[in-house]
Symmetry: C2
Amino acid sequence: VVDPGDVRVDAGKLHALGVRALTTVGVTEEHARLTADVLLASDLRGVESHGFAHLADFYVGRIRNGLVKAVPDVRIVHETPTTGVVDGDGGLGFVAGRTATRLAIDKAAVAGIGMVSTRNSTHFGPGFFYAMEALPQDMLGISMTTGGNIVVPPGGVGRTYGSNVIAFAAPTRGVPFVLDMATSVVAGGKFEIANRRGKTVPEGWGETAQGLPIVDDPSPYLQRGAIRPLGGTPEFGAWKGFGLALMSDILCGVLSGGGASTTLTSPGACHFVGAIRIDAFIPKEEFLDGMDAMIGKLKASPRQPGAPPLTYAGEPEAEKEADYRANGVPFHPATIEALRVMCDEIGIALDLV
Amino acid sequence: VVDPGDVRVDAGKLHALGVRALTTVGVTEEHARLTADVLLASDLRGVESHGFAHLADFYVGRIRNGLVKAVPDVRIVHETPTTGVVDGDGGLGFVAGRTATRLAIDKAAVAGIGMVSTRNSTHFGPGFFYAMEALPQDMLGISMTTGGNIVVPPGGVGRTYGSNVIAFAAPTRGVPFVLDMATSVVAGGKFEIANRRGKTVPEGWGETAQGLPIVDDPSPYLQRGAIRPLGGTPEFGAWKGFGLALMSDILCGVLSGGGASTTLTSPGACHFVGAIRIDAFIPKEEFLDGMDAMIGKLKASPRQPGAPPLTYAGEPEAEKEADYRANGVPFHPATIEALRVMCDEIGIALDLV
């Protein structure tokens, strides 16, 4: 639901702002474009936490204060016909992530499967983008990344390991299946949004820095509180969420040689991307028949009284994208204001509305 | 914790019983051996639900009543240097699963990565076994399977899709990391065990066939009740559990052409296995250094007062295996009795104690 106070911004102007801002702080035109692509895709699909809302602090800001290299030497440090290791050289994660994804897809086009692990990178935005890159090639896409160290393991106290992400995309004859999930109960942004809007959070999402449950008031999360693993408590599957996070850590951080979330320091991140060519298994049309059959059964299954129709991962996001492309991307006025401040600081025009 | 009333059974005798029972109902010696390997590994690691407790009903019983073929023609129906599709011909899932795993590992040994999707199979026991097969080859192992249709999606009513499994194994210098999880809050066996022992279940695990929450009394689950996805409710991440289950369905059922859990009928199942050669990314010793560093940080992280030391997936199971190999596998007397009845029916000796 779009807030009535939100401002609608044209997607093209938003992309142009991203390129303008990043090139102004020293990023090459090419890297600025491929970064703006991802930020825009994130906002278009309603993943506000990974789009232009963080352009100022995560990307432009970290380049200006030297935490992220403006002109990284992104290199393929090892490769075989099916695998690769990319070194992001401490630049924008988008550049490393898209380099790795291109490499994985190129390898899958020839070998059937391509998988690339990436080290010395930084925040690469939303996982779905890299997984979805495989779709136009009739491939399944996988992407994972280490997240910030904000999760507490079962029985632990405080921020211990990363809100690591798992994303997976598969084509259908309609809206693609696109899963993109943090392996924690919720993303850290949920606490920040609740705090900003003066809303409560349910007991079970997180714990204070001292290890007590966070109940209602989200603010203790901001004082180094921690989020619980997906599943919440051991009785409801927290070991599964913790285990999935470590799987992501192993494929991103250990397999690349860059280090797991537990050993990385901000803003360092590692990623993993994979592409699997469908016709290396069965003909594409048979695959799409199977997706149709699966989705058909799910859509026809009984619903609770008053429940909306069942959707699968990727459908709510595709609906937003259709709206936002046609009518503009909604932003809270405070986000626009933050972008205006950034533009003033680096001496460029905002030019959004 | 082993129940004081349990009987300890020698691992070798258990394996021999499996081979004896399966060959008696027409399974070849080779297939019986590779099935008994998996059942024994399951019991040794404490995964009681996927071991000898179900030899009588799931495997010997289904072969006797014709639901599972005793002598299947397991075939590789398609392959490339990195991929394969195996058809299990409606035989024991262990045979199809191990054929697929061998194929994936052989491909990874040459190409760096091997992935095989399997159709027309049946229950293949615990997912961890197939993922762990990669470990002695210095590979990462992945295995997934469709599960029985016992899970309700968010907003749904009743059994709709499968308790699909995701397993992942990675070597360390000590106990391997081995994740093996159903994508539902809990496995169906948890309700069955609670019911048998007269215990309650927490609200949030499942719903009745009519879509009401199951509270305390586990018995409504047995009357076609359903389990919730990992995450439980949308507020706590149920869409993630549902999404992970569909990812498993897509890789096992759709990519093999066999059908997702929603479209399969019991005892049909599809699987997916993958093997990734570590040194196709980085040298093995560097990988093990990275695992050491990750595990070291986790083990050193703060704990709640009275909480046991933090373990990772695979550690509790390895501890059980060491105990059970040395001192025998613990079984409830009722399980031994069920095996005795099976032995009487097919005319073989129990010979366990």
